[in-house]
């Protein structure tokens, strides 16, 4: 066993890690169905939330796959799908200029304003 490392946390346990290649990006031989991100509205009135991803050849198939994969337990009343490459995302390197400036705008929050306890309905 020496030299063989195993992780038990491969979910169902005991898979070797030593000597196993990690796969390099872009080395698959087949052209694949594109990746889609899936958003589900749990019930009326709630936001759509990101629940995961899937592969589909086109938008229509992606919607069907989202229904089959992510709403098997009555999870949703509405589904959005969008091709992963169409999601524009902020970069973590921009964290400070993007998000820090809103950190001190405490006056945007209701708790900033002190109102005497005996004023009703506030």
């Amino acid at each position: 066993m020496s030299g063989q490392d195993f992780t038990t946390e491969g979910g169902h346990g005991a898979v070797p890690l030593q000597g196993v290649p990690a796969a390099k990006p872009g080395h698959g031989s087949e052209r694949e169905w594109p990746l889609y991100e899936v958003f589900v509205r749990g019930k009326r009135g709630l936001n759509h939330v990101h629940v995961g991803s899937l592969h589909a050849a086109d938008d229509e198939m992606a919607l069907r796959h989202a229904r089959d994969v992510y709403t098997r337990r009555n999870e949703g009343v509405s589904v959005w799908v969008v091709q992963a490459r169409h999601v524009a995302a902020s970069s973590p390197d921009e964290k400070d200029p993007m998000f820090a400036p809103s950190g001190d705008k405490v006056y945007r929050h209701p708790t900033f304003y002190s109102i005497p306890d005996d004023v009703p309905h506030m």
Binding site: M1, S2, G3, Q4, D5, F6, T7, T8, E9, G10, G11, H12, G13, A14, V15, P16, L17, Q18, V20, P21, A22, A23, K24, P25, G26, H27, G28, S29, E30, R31, E32, W33, L35, V51, G52, S53, L54, H55, A57, D58, M61, V69, R72, R73, A89, S91, P92, D93
Partner: protein, 321 residues
């Protein structure tokens, strides 16, 4: 991550410091964050092999779908094996956030370059095995998977939360099947005991070799990818299973299994690590069969996947015209 290509040493150490700091604060690493190459590789391997385990894990139980002895059990089993396809899909998606593709990982699996959990290289020989896999194999998986919900890599942790939420029925359906069979005929009780005898040792091996034989555990634990040692998890599993076996009315095939009041845990015998290594090396009872099954499905489906892409291309062209 591309920043690392041109980064100066000073920039690199700043990035590393930020990464270490994020881990230290038990916050999650997200896909677009900088991460050390070793961390990324370890994650890809672990998540991929976790996904492969789910997908290959469909086969041992799937073996009994067409022979399920009641319509209720058939529905339960089909839904369970279907969940495993879903869990594999969630996990491949998590790996894809690290820049690898599902197709590429599938090729690594069917070429035997990446592995999956050895437990699925054991055959299922009676319907009781469906119950035993739910109870012991999924029980062992619980010990592994629940801590993973807190793993340091965000997409992996989120996938695991969904997996665990859905898995909550898997172990229970297995135990309930065995409980029902134990209330059935003498033959059914014997079938349950025989199945438990066969799966007990492979289930213990699911936690991997003893800690002293797992040299890289420390790095994975420091990175927060791995959260408990093999031996800890194995002990937890044994302690959890013994009273469940008593309630069921079955025994485990281990003469050394007994409560140790001093340790506050059960003592138990040593699994056959030679057998374990043989199975890992590909000589298990079902290794070749499992990979061949997966390869056939993948290759037989190629023309369908290709047709859907061709159709989508055609639709797009028509829309442009």
């Amino acid at each position: 991550m591309t920043t690392s290509d041109t980064a100066t040493d000073a920039q690199l150490s700043a990035l590393e410091a930020r990464f270490e700091d994020t881990i230290a604060r038990s916050e999650r690493i997200e896909p677009r964050d900088w991460m050390p190459e070793g961390y990324r590789k370890t994650l890809v391997r672990q998540i991929a092999q976790h996904a492969h385990s789910e997908i290959i894990g469909m086969q041992p139980e799937g073996n009994w779908i067409t022979r399920a002895p009641s319509l209720r059990r058939k529905a339960i089993l089909l839904a369970k094996v279907q969940d495993e396809a879903g869990h594999g899909l969630y996990l491949y998606s998590a790996a894809e956030t690290l820049g690898v593709s599902r197709g590429e990982l599938t090729e690594m699996l069917i070429e035997g370059r990446q592995k999956y959990s050895s437990i699925f290289n054991y055959p299922t020989l009676s319907y009781a095995d469906v119950g035993t896999i739910g109870w012991l194999v999924d029980g062992a998986a619980i010990c592994n998977q629940v801590p993973l919900c807190r793993t340091s890599y965000g997409p992996y942790g989120r996938a695991m939360i969904r997996v665990c939420k859905e898995e909550s029925f898997h172990q229970r359906q297995g135990y309930e099947l065995l409980m029902t069979m134990m209330q059935g005929t003498e033959e059914q009780r014997a079938m349950v005991q025989e199945s438990v005898n066969r799966f007990w040792w492979p289930a213990l091996m699911m936690f991997g070799p003893p800690d002293e034989d797992s040299p890289n555990t420390a790095q994975s634990m420091a990175w927060g990818i791995k959260r408990n040692t093999n031996d800890d998890l194995r002990q937890r599993f044994v302690d959890m299973s013994v009273p469940q076996a008593e309630a069921l009315g079955v025994t485990f095939p281990d003469p050394d299994l007994k409560w140790n009041a001093e340790r506050g845990h059960h003592d138990f015998g040593e699994p056959d690590w030679d057998e374990f290594m043989q199975v890992v090396k590909g000589n298990g009872p079902c290794n070749a069969q499992r990979i061949a099954h997966r390869r056939t499905a993948h290759e037989d489906g190629a023309w369908v996947r290709e047709a859907a892409l061709a159709f989508a291309d055609r639709q797009r062209e028509a829309a442009r015209a």
